[in-house]
C-alpha cells in the first residue's frame, strides 16, 4: 500500500467513526451532562469548568510534545542541538507557577462548591421540602414517605420544583444512592444515616442505581424516579395509601432477605419509625444475631451515629 492510499483509508475510517459516534451520542441520553435539576446542573457546570481550566496546561503539553518530537528528531540535523542544556530558572518557574495558579483558582472553587453543594444542605425553595427515607436492601431499594406512611420498592415519584430531602441508610452491605440527572451520589451504610438534598425542575422519568458493589444482585439494583406535577404526585401517594400490601415488621423482615431484579411494589401502613429502627438496630445490643427488627419503637436519638465527623482522627 502506498502512503497516499494509507492516509486516505485512515482518514475515511476516522471520519466515519467520528460521524457514527456523533450520531450515536446524539441519540443516547448522557445523564450527567443532561441535568434535570439545579444540583445536577451545578455539578455538570463544575465538571465543564475544571475541564476548561485544565486545557490551559493540556494544550501546551500536546503542542510541545508534537512540535518537539518532530523538530528535534534525530534525522533533522538542521535543528539546534544543546546536549548540556539542563535547566532554566525562568522556564521552570513558569511551570511551577502557572499550574499553581490554576490549582489556586480551582481550590477556591473546590472549597466553595463543597459547601454550596454539600449534599446535607437543604435546598431553598418556596415549596415545602418532602422527606423521603431510602433503605438499601439485598438487592433492592426501599423508599419510605414517613409523613404519608407509604413505601415503595424500586421506584418513587416526586413533584417538580420541590426540594427533596433523602435520608439514606442500608440494611445490607454498603451501597451508593445515585440519580445522575438529579445530582451526585452518597453512600448508604448500615447503622448510619446519610442525607442528600435534590430537586427536579423538569418533568421526566429518571434512572437511578446503586453505584457501589453490594453483592450478587447488585446490577439489578436500579430504580426510576418520576418527576411531574404536584397533582400527579398527590395522586400517586393516594394510590400507595390504598395499596393492600401493608409494611408490617414481618413484611419488612421478609423484604430484607436477598432477592434479585425486584419488581416495583407499593406498601401502605408504614410506621413512621421504621427507618429509625433500621438504623438503630446496628447500634444497640440485641440477642438476635440475625439482626432482624423485633418491633418498631420510637427512638429519641435517631441520628446518634450520623456520618458527619466519621473521619478517622
Amino acid at each position: 500500500m502506498n502512503k497516499k492510499l494509507k492516509i486516505g483509508v485512515i482518514s475515511i475510517l476516522l471520519i466515519a467513526s467520528v460521524g457514527i459516534s456523533a450520531w450515536y451520542l446524539h441519540h443516547t441520553n448522557i445523564a450527567v451532562l443532561d441535568p434535570a435539576g439545579p444540583i445536577a446542573l451545578k455539578e455538570r457546570n463544575l465538571i465543564y469548568f475544571a475541564l476548561g481550566l485544565s486545557l490551559i496546561v493540556v494544550i501546551p503539553v500536546f503542542t510541545l510534545l508534537g512540535v518537539f518530537a518532530f523538530r528535534y528528531r534525530e534525522t533533522n540535523t538542521k535543528s539546534k542541538y544543546s546536549p548540556n542544556l539542563d535547566h532554566n530558572a525562568v522556564a521552570e518557574a513558569i511551570w511551577w507557577l502557572i499550574p499553581s495558579g490554576i490549582i489556586l483558582i480551582l481550590s477556591v472553587v473546590a472549597w466553595t462548591s463543597s459547601h454550596s453543594l454539600d449534599p446535607y444542605k437543604p435546598i431553598a425553595s418556596d415549596n415545602k421540602t418532602i422527606n423521603i427515607q431510602v433503605v438499601a436492601l439485598d438487592w433492592k431499594w426501599l423508599f419510605i414517605y414517613p409523613n404519608d406512611q407509604v413505601a415503595s420498592i424500586n421506584n418513587f415519584e416526586i413533584p417538580t420544583n420541590t426540594p427533596i430531602n433523602f435520608e439514606i441508610t442500608s440494611d445490607a452491605p454498603m451501597n451508593s444512592f445515585w440519580i445522575p440527572q438529579l445530582g451526585g451520589q452518597i453512600y448508604a451504610m448500615p447503622g448510619m444515616s446519610t442525607q442528600l438534598n435534590l430537586m427536579a425542575t423538569k418533568d421526566g422519568i429518571f434512572n437511578g442505581s446503586s453505584a457501589n458493589i453490594s453483592g450478587e444482585g447488585f446490577s439489578g439494583m436500579t430504580f426510576t424516579v418520576k418527576a411531574s406535577s404536584n397533582r400527579d404526585y398527590v395522586n400517586w401517594i393516594r394510590q400507595l395509601s390504598a395499596s393492600p400490601k401493608k409494611l408490617t415488621v414481618a413484611t419488612y423482615n421478609q423484604l430484607t432477605k436477598p432477592s434479585q431484579y425486584n419488581k416495583v411494589a407499593h406498601y401502605s401502613n408504614v410506621s413512621p419509625d421504621l427507618y429509625n429502627s433500621i438504623v438503630y438496630k446496628y447500634m444497640s445490643p440485641s440477642e438476635d444475631s440475625t439482626q432482624s427488627i423485633d418491633s418498631v419503637t420510637t427512638i429519641n436519638n435517631p441520628k446518634a451515629r450520623d456520618i458527619n465527623g466519621m473521619v478517622m482522627p
Partner: protein, 670 residues
C-alpha cells in the same frame, strides 16, 4: 467424622469449581504447569533451575524472576478483563451474558488484585532489582538473602491467589474488599480469605523489599555519588520505598483486622457490635492511595532515564524533578479521602482533601514539562522505549485532567464509582505505570541478556496497546457520564449502552494482541539473538553507570568499584574518552553472597501457612509456622553466607568481555 473435619478444616470434596469458565481456567493452568514440568524434566533442567535461578541471590536474576511472574500475571489479569468485557458486551436486556453474576464479580475482584499486586508490583520490583544496584555502582543490595525471601513471599502470594481458581473460590467483594460485604455475614465462603492471605503474604514481601532497597540506596552508593548525583530512577525508587515503608504496615494491619473479624468473631468493621465499616475504608485507602504512587514513581524514573538517553541530552530540571518526587511522596499521604467524598464526611473535610488532591497535580505537571524540555534541542532517536514515553505523555495528561476534574468534590459526586472513574485510573495505571514498565523492560533488556529486543515487534506491540487502549477506555469515559456504574454484569437495553461496551471490548481485544506481540517479541528476539547482540554494553548510547559495564552484566556488576563525578557519569566518561588509558586494571578479590535454598523453602511454607489459614486447617498453619521459625534460626546461625571471587577469576571474565567488545561492529549510533 469430626476427626476428619478437624484435619481438613473447611476443605471437602465440593471445593472444586462447578462452573465451566473457572473449571476451564483451572484446568488450563494445571495443564500448562504440567507441560512446563514435563519440559523441564525432559531437558533435565531442574538442577539448573534450582541452582541458577530459584535460589539465586543475584538481584539481576531475582529481577528476571519477578518480571516473568509479573508478565504471567499480566496475562492472567488480562484474561480476566477479556471475560469481563465479553460479559458486558453481551449481557443486556433479556440476555444475562455468558457468565454468572458471581463469576463476574470474582473476575473483577481478581483482575484488580492481580494487576496491582502481582503484575504491577512484580514488574516494578523486577526492574528495581535489575537496575538499581548497578545504577548506584553497587555489587548487590543491602540484604541479599532478604531480597530473595521477599521474592518468594511475593511468589507465595501469587500461588495462593491462583490456587483459588481450582480449590474453592475467590472473593466477590472487589479489589479492596469493603466491609460489611467482605465480612463473614455477607461473604461466608473462603473467597475473601484467599484475598486476605495472598495479599498479606505478598505485602510482607513488598514491605521487606521496600526496607531493603531503601537501605541499599542510603548505604551502598559508590564513592562520589552524593544524593544530587543519583540518577532520577534512583530518586524515584527512594520515594517509592519510603512510601512502601509508611504505607504497607497499614495494609498489614487492615488485612489482619479483617481476618480477625472473619475468623475470630471480632467487631472492627462489622456493621453491628460497635464495629465501623468506614474505618476500614479509611485504613485501606491510607495504604491504597500511596500504593498508586509507589507504582508510578519508579515509572516516572524510567521515563526520565529514557527521555534523556534517547534525546541525547541531560535531563532537564533535575533539581525540580527531585523536589517534585519529594512533594509527591509527602503529599500522597494527605489525599486518601478523595476515594470516598461520597461518604458524606462534611463540606470542610471534603474541601480540604479535594484541595490536597489538586495540589499533588502541581509537581506531577512540573515533571511533564521537564520531560518535554528534555526533548527540546535534543537529537531524538525514536527507538521503542521512546514510543512508550510519547504514549505515556499523551495518556497521562488526559488521565490527569480527568483526575483534576474528580478532585472537585461535588463533581466527584457525579463521577465516583462510575465507569468514568474506571477509565481515569486505567489511563493513569496503564498509560503511566504499565507503559513505563514495558518501556523499562525494553530499555534494560540488553543489559541483562546481552541482546536487544526486536524493534519492529516492539513498535507493533506499542501501537496495539495504544490504539486498543483508546478504543477500550474512551467509551468508558462516555459510559460513566451516561450513568453507567462500575462492576455491572448486566444492564437494561433501553439505556443504549451496548454499542460502547462492544467497542470497549474490541479495544480490550486489541490490547490483548499487544500483550501477545510483546511476548512474541521476547521469544523471537531470543531466537534471533545473534542479530541484536550488544557487544559494547552500551546499546542506546546511555548515560548512567549501568551502561559502563558489559552486557550481559557480570554477576559482580563492577570488577572495580566506580567513582563518579557527574550525574551522567558514563556520558561524561565517553565525552572525555581521549584519556582512555592503557593502564592495566588492577583487580582485587570480591566478596559475594552465597545462594540460598532457605528462601524458596520459606516461600513454600508460607503458601502452606496461608492455605491453612484460608481453610482453617490449623495443624498445617502451626506446622508451617514452626518450620519457618526453625529455618530462620538455622539461617541466622550460619556464619558462612559469603564467598570470595578471586581476582584471577575476575580478570578472566573481564578479558573475555574485552575480547568480545573488540569484535563489535562499528557503533550504530553517532
Amino acid at each position: 467424622m469430626n476427626y476428619v473435619a478437624g484435619i481438613l478444616g473447611k476443605l471437602n470434596i465440593h471445593v472444586f469449581p462447578h462452573d465451566k469458565v473457572t473449571l476451564g481456567a483451572a484446568v488450563s493452568i494445571v495443564l500448562g504447569g504440567f507441560i512446563a514440568i514435563l519440559f523441564m524434566t525432559y531437558t533435565k533442567r531442574w538442577k539448573w533451575l534450582w541452582k541458577e535461578w530459584l535460589t539465586s541471590v543475584d538481584p539481576k536474576k531475582i529481577g528476571v524472576m519477578y518480571i516473568i511472574v509479573g508478565l504471567l500475571m499480566l496475562v492472567r489479569g488480562g484474561a480476566d478483563a477479556l471475560m469481563m468485557k465479553t460479559q458486558q458486551a453481551t449481557s443486556v436486556g433479556a440476555s444475562h451474558g455468558v457468565l454468572s453474576a458471581t463469576t463476574f464479580q470474582q473476575l473483577f475482584s481478581a483482575h484488580g488484585t492481580i494487576m496491582i499486586f502481582f503484575a504491577a508490583m512484580g514488574l516494578m520490583f523486577g526492574l528495581i532489582n535489575l537496575v538499581l544496584p548497578i545504577q548506584i555502582g553497587a555489587r548487590d543490595v543491602a540484604f541479599p538473602f532478604l531480597n530473595l525471601t521477599s521474592f518468594w513471599l511475593f511468589a507465595a502470594g501469587m500461588i495462593l491467589i491462583n490456587l483459588s481458581l481450582g480449590i474453592g473460590e475467590f472473593s466477590t467483594a472487589g479489589w479492596l474488599a469493603y466491609p460489611p460485604l467482605s465480612e463473614l455475614r455477607y461473604s461466608p465462603g473462603v473467597g475473601v480469605d484467599y484475598w486476605i492471605w495472598s495479599l498479606q503474604i505478598a505485602g510482607i514481601g513488598s514491605l521487606l523489599s521496600g526496607i531493603n532497597f531503601f537501605v541499599t540506596i542510603v548505604k551502598m552508593r559508590c564513592s562520589g555519588m552524593n544524593l544530587m548525583k543519583m540518577p532520577m530512577f534512583v530518586w524515584s525508587v527512594l520515594g517509592s520505598t519510603l512510601l512502601i515503608m509508611f504505607a504497607f504496615p497499614i495494609l498489614t494491619v487492615t488485612l489482619t483486622l479483617l481476618f480477625l473479624d472473619r475468623t475470630m468473631g471480632m467487631h472492627f468493621f462489622t456493621g453491628g457490635f460497635g464495629g465501623n465499616p468506614m474505618m476500614y475504608v479509611n485504613l485501606i485507602w491510607a495504604w491504597g492511595h500511596p500504593e498508586v504512587y509507589i507504582l508510578i514513581l519508579p515509572a516516572f524514573g524510567i521515563y526520565s532515564e529514557i527521555v534523556a538517553t534517547f534525546s541525547r541530552k541531560r535531563l532537564f530540571g533535575y533539581t525540580s524533578m527531585v523536589w517534585a518526587i519529594g512533594a509527591i511522596t509527602v503529599l500522597s499521604f494527605s489525599v486518601w479521602l478523595h476515594h470516598f467524598f461520597t461518604m458524606g464526611a462534611g463540606a470542610d473535610v471534603n474541601g480540604f482533601f479535594g484541595i490536597m488532591t489538586m495540589v499533588i497535580a502541581i509537581p506531577t505537571g512540573v515533571k511533564v514539562f521537564n520531560w518535554l524540555f528534555t526533548m527540546f534541542r535534543g537529537r531524538i532517536n525514536f527507538s521503542t522505549p521512546m514510543y512508550w514515553f510519547m504514549g505515556f505523555i499523551g495518556l497521562f495528561t488526559v488521565g490527569g485532567v480527568a483526575g483534576v476534574v474528580m478532585s472537585v468534590p461535588p463533581a466527584d459526586f457525579q463521577l465516583h464509582n462510575s465507569l468514568f472513574l474506571v477509565a481515569h485510573f486505567h489511563t493513569m495505571i496503564v498509560g503511566g505505570v504499565v507503559f513505563g514498565y514495558l518501556a523499562g523492560i525494553t530499555y534494560w533488556f540488553p543489559k541483562i541478556f546481552g541482546f536487544r529486543l526486536n524493534e519492529r515487534l516492539g513498535r507493533w506491540s506499542f501501537w496495539c496497546w495504544f490504539i486498543g487502549f483508546l478504543l477500550a477506555f474512551i467509551p468508558l469515559y462516555i459510559l460513566g457520564l451516561m450513568g453507567a456504574t462500575r462492576r455491572l454484569d448486566h444492564y437494561s437495553a433501553s439505556l443504549g449502552w451496548q454499542p460502547l461496551f462492544i467497542v470497549s471490548g474490541i479495544g480490550a481485544g486489541i490490547i490483548a494482541i499487544g500483550v501477545g506481540i510483546f511476548v512474541l517479541q521476547i521469544a523471537l528476539s531470543i531466537i534471533q539473538r545473534k542479530d541484536n547482540i550488544d557487544y559494547t554494553g552500551d546499546p542506546w548510547n546511555g548515560r548512567t553507570l549501568e551502561w559502563s559495564i558489559p552486557s550481559p552484566a557480570p554477576f559482580y556488576n563492577f570488577a572495580i568499584s566506580p567513582i563518579v563525578h557527574d550525574r551522567d557519569p558514563f556520558w561524561e566518561a565517553k565525552r572525555q574518552s581521549n584519556k582512555d588509558t592503557d593502564e592495566v586494571p588492577h583487580y582485587k578479590d570480591i566478596v559475594m553472597p552465597k545462594n540460598s535454598g532457605i528462601a524458596p523453602i520459606i516461600g513454600m511454607l508460607s503458601v502452606a501457612f496461608g492455605f491453612g489459614m484460608i481453610w482453617h486447617v490449623w495443624w498445617l498453619c502451626i506446622a508451617a509456622l514452626v518450620t519457618i521459625i526453625v529455618v530462620i534460626i538455622v539461617r541466622s546461625s550460619d556464619d558462612h553466607t559469603e564467598f570470595i571471587v578471586p581476582a584471577k577469576e575476575i580478570e578472566r571474565i573481564e578479558t573475555e568481555y574485552a575480547a568480545r567488545k573488540a569484535q563489535a561492529p562499528k557503533r550504530r549510533y553517532a
